[in-house]
Amino acid sequence: MTTDPDALTRRRFLGASVAASGLAIAGLAGCSFGPSSTKDPSIETGEQKPWGGEVDEQGLAKPDVTFTDMNGEPFPFVEKTKGKLALLFFGYTNCPDVCPVTLSSLNRALDQIGNGPGSDPMVLFVGVDIARDTPEQLQTYLGRINPTFLGLTGTEKVIAEANRQVFNGPIAIEEPDENGEYAVIHSSKVFAYSPTDDLAHRYYPGSDVRPQTWVQDLPRLAKGRYT
């Protein structure tokens, strides 16, 4: 069973600007270091600290959809995040591993950054499991990690469309067990949208990202840098 009505017809990773990056992710599934022609050498800028994640020079546009926020209000994504450092992540609130690890890693990093550039990104968590990820549930869930994180949901169509626009693999809801519990297969990439041009030039493979990576990258990302 899949929640994505486009699952069978969409052309994923093909001919898109992130095709190379997508392949890199696939190759990296295991060891994360990888064949990385897409990774920046980080020496040209004189930076001592290497960047985390993967770079996309061309940049990925924001999903042009209107989500529903945690108060049940419309959240036109492009308009609401314009000019902000915005971190976008798709997950679900019954996710035991990748989602809480990713969110708590970000939270710990923000604690360490404290003030200044990169200390107040918009962290946007899209709950893709619409049967359980209601606005109220998102509010409770994110409130337990970091109350400044924003939860977004929407109709199945809106979520599938947003997911497609960022070239994530289709979202699939697995069969419930005898207790009605089920897992959801979803991309674990965190997209970092630049405050300068509103494009994601860098994205991060979910739970692979340690707090220290964010501590290093968020202040740079906040200045519109990505290499």
């Binding site: 060891c31 050498p41 035991p96 869930y141 990576t213």
Partner: protein, 179 residues
């Protein structure tokens, strides 16, 4: 990530993958199974070390991280885990598929090679507790019962810790430390 020259990192990564075989390579950044062949003290027992649970954002779902050590000369298999605080307890491994998606696969029979350890850590192996029947607080102890093919029943206690503090997710150092 270590600020090392990239080629060295790649070489190390490849070496690590070769050393530990498919176990480490299937689980994302080395987080997951890492069998430290031959590196364990022959305690003669199967033990569980450092079991922790991140205080869950969703009170009904949590993940246990730990190190299972097989200090015997006999390969063993983890058959099941149970806990009085959860309706369902399953062993899962999170992998990243070809489309960059996180996929959890149940590990109904998890091999614990002789004189080796298997590390459960963020983004890799975890014991998933679902249908948690009471509110967990930081500092709480959660009883776990692990059943192995040869070692039989092994009891363990997992401590509830601050979100992101379990396994290697919170210390910024990453990696697998037991070999």
């Amino acid at each position: 990530m270590t600020p090392s020259p990239r080629p060295l990192l790649v070489a190390l990564a490849l070496a690590a993958c070769v050393l530990v075989g498919t176990a480490a390579c299937g689980s994302g950044d080395g987080a997951g199974t890492a069998a430290a062949q031959g590196g364990e003290v022959a305690s003669g027992r199967v033990t569980v070390d450092g079991a922790t649970i991140d205080w869950p954002a969703n009170p009904r779902v949590a993940a246990v991280r730990m190190v299972v050590r097989n200090g015997t000369g006999t390969p063993d298999v983890l058959r099941s885990v149970s806990s009085p605080v959860a309706e369902t307890v399953t062993v899962h491994r999170t992998d990243t598929d070809a489309q960059g998606r996180s996929v959890m696969t149940e590990q109904a029979e998890l091999a614990i090679p002789a004189r080796s350890s298997v590390t459960f850590e963020p983004g890799g192996l975890h014991v998933m507790l679902t249908g948690i029947t009471r509110d967990l607080e930081v500092g709480d102890d959660v009883e776990l019962t692990l059943t192995f093919e040869h070692a039989g029943v092994v009891d363990a206690t997992a401590e509830v810790v601050e979100p992101g503090a379990s396994g290697t997710g919170g210390d910024g150092s990453g990696g697998t430390h037991d070999h």
